[in-house]
């Protein structure tokens, strides 16, 4: 830092104040989602450690980090991103990779209501230069409601996105209580899923049966027919008896067979069997669940505590691993079993399949 050497000989108080604020800003950033980049190898070994991780942060940036370059040291790193693009105004909430070999696309959505698709090859070509401008391949904007006298509502944010298998459709969980199915080719909304009474937190696609599942702030999960846009079923979460309100459904996850659903809702984790259509278990957690992911027949859940918890289907805790962020917003799983827990403080904790910490990245501005 240049300011560390600043003294009476070259004093610039404003610049110094600016660096202090910047430092504070980097400290209270949140990484909302991480995703492992598709391997550059033709025939990737699914068990090898992923090399690149992309983090979407509350400042709207997407930054990729090379894990292998940080592996050597076991200490916390102030990581310099390999590439850094300002993808969104406001926070970037979700990113998803559409893996297609050379033409892999990275979709991001954010608080500004935009869904943007980036060509991964072009992103990797952007070498660490800050402010390097990259044009998105796809740019979709949520619609604004028309009010009386033609007034327009603000653009609702997009809190989560999901992709179908072909990468032709993007399902977006928007802030105006609706989910949308976007056609990537035409850039138009194909289907609107309307019915929730509050804004949506999460969306997942059940490709095997053409269904879309959404989790909302209103405390319900809805299953929709992805083509017709009709609500098939409303899964109500149990009311939390301690708190008077229904907690929101903050996160959803499907297992590989797409027959099991995990819902994080308030301080509980619900597991549903979609085939039987009934709730299997309710797992109480210490803090509200903020992200959940299936790993084989185990569920990995994270919340507003520095712990990564594994549960089996019956709700028994298998293990708990201490992790770096105090509030974890994203848990991502790589095919090799490597986990990345990211959250408050701009921290990304990469955890090996054996529970040891491969590296902890502190993303800087």
């Amino acid at each position: 830092m240049a300011t560390a050497t600043m003294d009476v000989r070259s004093w610039n108080e404003d610049a110094y104040r600016e660096t202090i604020l910047q430092e504070r800003e980097s400290r209270c950033r949140t990484v909302f989602r991480t995703a492992f980049a598709p391997s550059s190898d033709r025939n990737p070994n699914p068990n090898s450690i992923p090399d690149v991780i992309v983090a979407a942060s509350s400042d709207g940036s997407l930054a990729s980090y090379s894990i292998s370059s940080f592996l050597s040291s076991d200490r916390l790193l102030i990581a310099e991103p390999d590439c850094f693009i300002q993808a969104h105004e406001g926070a970037a909430y979700d990113i998803k990779f559409h893996e297609n070999g050379e033409d892999s696309l990275l979709f991001s959505c954010g608080d500004d209501g935009h869904i943007r698709g980036w060509r991964w090859k072009e992103m990797t070509a952007v070498t660490g230069i800050r402010g390097a401008h990259l044009n998105p391949v796809v740019d979709l904007v949520n619609l604004q409601h028309k009010g009386p006298w033609g007034s327009l509502s603000p653009i609702p944010e997009t809190n989560a996105i999901a992709l179908d298998n072909q990468g032709q459709s993007i399902y977006a969980a928007a802030g105006n209580s609706c989910a949308y199915c976007w056609d990537v080719e035409t850039g138009k909304v194909k289907v609107v899923y309307k019915g929730h009474s509050d804004y949506l937190h999460s969306v997942v696609v059940r490709n095997s049966s053409n269904q879309v599942l959404t989790g909302s702030e209103d405390g319900t999960t809805r299953i929709w027919d992805s083509v017709s846009g009709k609500c098939i079923r409303v899964l109500s979460m149990e009311k939390n008896d301690k708190l008077k309100d229904t907690p929101c459904v903050s996160s959803l996850a499907l297992d590989a067979s797409e027959s099991w659903l995990a819902c994080g809702s308030g301080r509980s984790l619900f597991i549903w069997n979609l085939v039987a259509g009934e709730r299997v278990s309710r797992i109480p957690t210490c803090t509200s669940v903020q992200d959940v992911v299936f790993h084989g027949n185990q569920v990995i859940a994270v919340g507003a505590e520095p712990l990564v918890s594994r549960y089996d289907m019956s709700g028994e805790i298998r293990s708990q691993i201490q992790c770096a962020p105090h509030s974890v917003f994203s848990i991502s799983l790589h095919s090799s079993g490597v986990l990345a827990a990211a959250g408050y403080g701009g921290l990304v904790d990469v955890i090996s399949p054996f529970g040891s910490h491969l590296c902890v990245l502190h993303c800087r501005l």
Partner: protein, 818 residues
Amino acid sequence: MSSAMEVQIEEAAAAVEPAAAPERMPPSSASAYDVLKESKASMEEIVAQMLSIKRGQNPKSQLPELLTESLLHFVALRQANRSILMEEDRIKAETERAKAPVDFTSLQLHNLMYEKNHYVKAIKACTDFKSKYPDIELVPEEEFFRDAPKYIKEDATPDDNAHCLMLKRLNFELYQRKELCKFREQLEERKAKLSQTIATRKKFLSSLPSHLKSLRKASIPVQQELGVHHAKKLKQHTSAELLPPPLYIIYSQFMAQKEAFGEHIDLEITGSLKDAQAFVRLQSNKDTGSSTKQESAKLEDDLPEEEDDDQRRRKRPKKVPGKDNHDQAGIYQEHPLRVVLHIYDDSISDPKPVKLVTLKFEYLLRLNVVCVGIEGSGEGTDSSVLCNLFPDDTGLELPHQSAKLSLGESVVFDKTRSSLPYKWAQHLAGLDFLPEVSPLLMDSESQGNGSIRTVVISGLQLYREQNRTQTVVQSVRLRVKSQLALMEQLDQLRKLKWPSLTCGSVPWASHKPLCTLHSWSALGSSSEAGMPLLETNAIHSSVINVMDARPDATKEIPEFVGEDGELPALLPTPAATDNNELTQREGSDHERSRGLAMMSKTIVSPYKVAKTPSFRIQDEDSELMLVDSESDHEESGKTKLEAVSAADIDSMDAKSWVDYKAQEFRLVLASKMSENGDDVKLEAKVKISVEYPVRPPLWAVDLLFLSSGEKNDENISAFWFNELRAMEAEVNLHILKMLRSDEQNQVLAHQVRCLTMLFDFYMGKVSEPYEKRKSTSVIDVGLCNPTNGTILARFFRGRDRRKMLSWKNLDCSLGFPY
């Protein structure tokens, strides 16, 4: 008988013939040979006849005849023989005669050759002759022809015989040298005369000061009468001359600043002049020997008079500063003179401006550092005003390497002293460009040493370009003012009054607090913990060992609780390692902290050291949760707890110097939950660094549900974790951007008020029935009226469910962009 005769003759003939045959007669004797040959032929004919007669029947009558004839022939033969021999003798004699001259001439030739060789040798010896003075520096020929007097030059021409010319030139040389010798004698004579006059004049000059002194003394009453403080000024100037170079630079530069820009400052020099002079004398004697004795003698002349001037000076034992004592006092030995700087408020155009602060600069001789302290810290200002005036400048570290080396690594500056060697003081004293020669030598030596002089001059030029004096004065002023403002705000808070805001344009100014200010207490300054600085390396390894030895270290931790009840860091390991990185960025920092760790006796445990108190709350959380999870699930104990907590990140960024002398306070806001009457308390700990307000106070907030026993405290605060962090971000960061620059000193008040409003907002919303606080329609949100102290919005937004705030006419913060 006849036959015998014949045989004899024949034999004789035979004997003659071989003798005659080899003899080659020269042509002159040819005739004799011819005679010989004829006679022989005739003889053979006769003999032949005689033989034929004897064998034949020829009458023997003819025999005698023939005999006679043969006898004749024999005679002829003898004659011829004799003549040949005669001829031979004659020729021999002739040859002898001819040989004699030949011998004579060859002898002559040999003599001549010998003579010639001798001469050649002599010539060579002559040509090889070398002069005794081979290289006499002669004037060049042209000059010789131009300048030489006639009698030497005579009729020499350039093409004259070179030898003669050389001789003449030599003569000229001799002449010239003699002249020069004479000239030198003259000069010496003159010099002697001049030095004599100088001596007389010097004598006069040395008697002059006493005259002047008496004159000045006489003028003092007049000066007093007229109110001219010439004497005082003069005294300051004379004492300025005695200042060591660093203090002199401070003095002169501030003086120049004052005179040129009308800066509201005042300068004076205090301390014992007598000691200073003694010091100067000692120094000069030591360094330059006797050459400066005169000067010191002159200084001594000044002495009694100065003593008269300075009546209040107490007589102190004349302790000559000894450079050789190595004890602590020797290290901190200071120059007897100090520069005192009074800084006045410049904002009011009052003829008699308020004095803000008085700084005292002193110079430590052995360490070659300048120390600054505050004199008379009675007006609510203490020494922390000067600390961290510029980043990373706690004043505990010796500023230059040489000083550190001279004392050894382990020595840290004695912080109990009232004045400390801040880096800015060194810059102010120009120690970054002053050469490291012994003080006071500079002035006398610099005339001789041009390079040092130019270095100092260019350094001073840079000094002025950087506006160092102005920057420091300005910074001190701002610092003092903001400290005063801070005091005021703290006072209000201590009395549990809402701090007043002068600026009404921010929402929290018009917000009427619903909650009550429950308590405000000081947690003390972080420097009181004894170790304000983080030690990195040594502790790091020890901690790792500890952690490795006991995987369930958390259960052991309570034994490390410090004396003041402060909770130790949960896992300082990663923090320590990361401090390494940071300290590499500012290498000196690292060295200092190492030095401190070795030096300080107040270290309780490494855990305590690696701790920044403001983050205790978070540590507490994580610890409790950790213990919880461990006791519940034993299998999780197998995972190595090497995790990095957010607190570690914070402590990593909170560099040691930043926290130095930071004050910490605990603020509790209480709010009644409307439904069941439970008290909700917001505990906010704030760390106010000395850099206030440039580094705004840093808050850490936590929720306490006190009255309700069923609720688990840590669970509540964990449940509210994201909201609490959002509140922190708001007060620590976002609202700062909304403050006007003239409101900076009120940052603490703004933060408290904003925190209050946020707390009201959150609690108010919480206490409302669930349905009421829902706003389902986006249109309602979009068209909502700008808030005026209360907040309307769609309540949650985004994945982190953050509350939406929108400020009227100001930047948006939390709820972008509405």
